[in-house]
């Protein structure tokens, strides 16, 4: 057969492309469900990790259902609508042990982060304590940053640095957290070390944090007002209770004093009586 004829070449190319297309389409539709599930599990695990939960994922037998269970147990998805835009925030009803510190309890607010890295998207989650200022934990991930360089943002060592950092400065201004090339200053609450050799990715993380957290300012303010209000009411209630308690204590003290007075008076009468008896016996 002459394989160099034009007709043969065209038919061959067409047939090949059709076969390859069928094979790929078949594979894609066959694997799609599993792939999507992997992505979903991955997302949930990242969210859990930002509040230090789901730590046993690598040791349990069925990782997928473990993650699903933990997620369902702790995390509530909620969304905020604001001037026509929707923001997602995840609320965790508990937290695991921090890498550098105490185990924790209480509510944590997890903010999803999206940014642009060197080769592709970077993303992550950062969890804030209910003062909306101190960071409880953070996780980062990336699509295609360079291994050993930018890809290091997904390591625990990098994420650990964010624990207990503050996103507002002492004056209450929003400063986010800087990723500093050449090392963060010791004791600075708003800086973490950048990845050496991964400057662009580090900058991407910094920008992602700044932009994404900024969107939630109104939400923070509203929540802080609400919690301040609750706090104020709590203080008032406590004050009222204190006043009442003081009054009760005073009353109790008064009655004790009265009893003491009576006792003293009775003792005095007794002594007087004894004196009289002694006097009369001497006279006799």
């Amino acid at each position: 057969m002459d394989t160099n004829k034009n007709l043969y070449t065209i038919l061959y190319a067409t047939g090949m492309v059709v076969i390859v297309a069928v094979v790929l389409a078949f594979a894609a539709s066959l694997l799609k469900e599993r792939q999507q599930r992997n992505v979903e599990i991955e997302r949930k695990q990242l969210i859990l990790r930002s509040v230090h939960l789901g730590a046993e994922a690598s040791s349990v037998k069925d990782k997928d259902s473990y993650i699903e269970q933990e997620y369902a147990r702790y995390i509530t998805d909620s969304s905020i609508s604001e001037s026509g835009k929707d923001f997602v925030i995840y609320i965790s009803s508990g937290g695991g042990k921090q890498q550098s510190g105490e185990p924790a309890s209480g509510r944590y607010y997890i903010i999803p982060l999206r940014g642009v890295g060197l080769w592709g998207p970077v993303w992550g989650y950062i969890s804030l304590a209910d003062d909306f200022n101190s960071v409880y934990g953070a996780t980062f991930d990336h699509k295609s940053e360079t291994p050993g360089l930018g890809a290091e943002i997904s390591t625990n060592a990098f994420a650990k640095q964010f624990e207990n950092k503050k996103i507002f400065d002492a004056q209450g201004d929003y400063v986010s957290i800087q990723v500093v090339k050449g090392g963060a200053k010791e004791g600075n609450d708003h800086q973490v070390d950048a990845i050496s050799g991964g400057t662009i990715t580090s900058k991407a993380v910094e920008e992602m944090l700044y932009k994404n957290i900024k969107e939630y300012m109104n939400f923070f303010a509203a929540n802080l007002r609400a919690s301040k209000e609750r706090e104020r009411m709590q203080i008032e209630r406590e004050a009222a209770e204190a006043v009442a308690a003081e009054a009760a204590a005073k009353a109790a003290a008064d009655s004790v004093a009265k009893v003491e007075q009576q006792l003293r008076y009775r003792a005095y009468l007794q002594r007087q009586k004894e004196q009289e008896q002694r006097d009369s016996s001497q006279n006799n």
Partner: protein, 208 residues
Amino acid sequence: MNNKKIFIEPLFRNNPVTVLVLGICSALAVTVKLEPALVMALSVTIVMGFSNVIISLIRNTIPNRIRIIVQLVVVAMLVILVDQVLKAYAYEVSKQLSVFVGLIITNCIIMGRIEAFALANKPIPSLIDGLGNGLGYGIILVVVAFFRELFGSGTLLGYQIIPNALYIKNGGFYENNGLFILPPMALILVGLFIWVQRSVTKELIEKK
């Protein structure tokens, strides 16, 4: 050439990276850490084995004028399949490799072996040639990645090898060498490897 020789040759004596100087680009990119280097070596070996077999099977039907396109389509299909399967069944690994899976398509070794071997040989020797060249490529990747991860990050496969106490920040004297993380060091290491190989195998040295 017997099958054993076909398999052994590309591992050292006729190594695709150090002797033929093919596939350098991906050797620079994936060798910062040992783990992606291992997975990359495995993926390339699998893709190369299959593509050699497929091309060898259809070698007599391929129209000569579009043979490069046919080869590319076959390799691309295999790479996409590998990528899809990894995403479904080894999600962690596929995340490790990320962009580099796509790079397999452009790996000159694969096209080189198809052109040079599979187009002219039967399927079984072609398979062996593909696997041998994949492993030859993998050996270089692993050796380079070993040194780059050890000296660049102080770890191997993610485990700390150089004791933490030796680092300057913990009061010691040692610091990771930043040059090992950057791509030029891969070239230097490959160059050193070629040097060693040429002084061991004298017949590789060109006559003046």
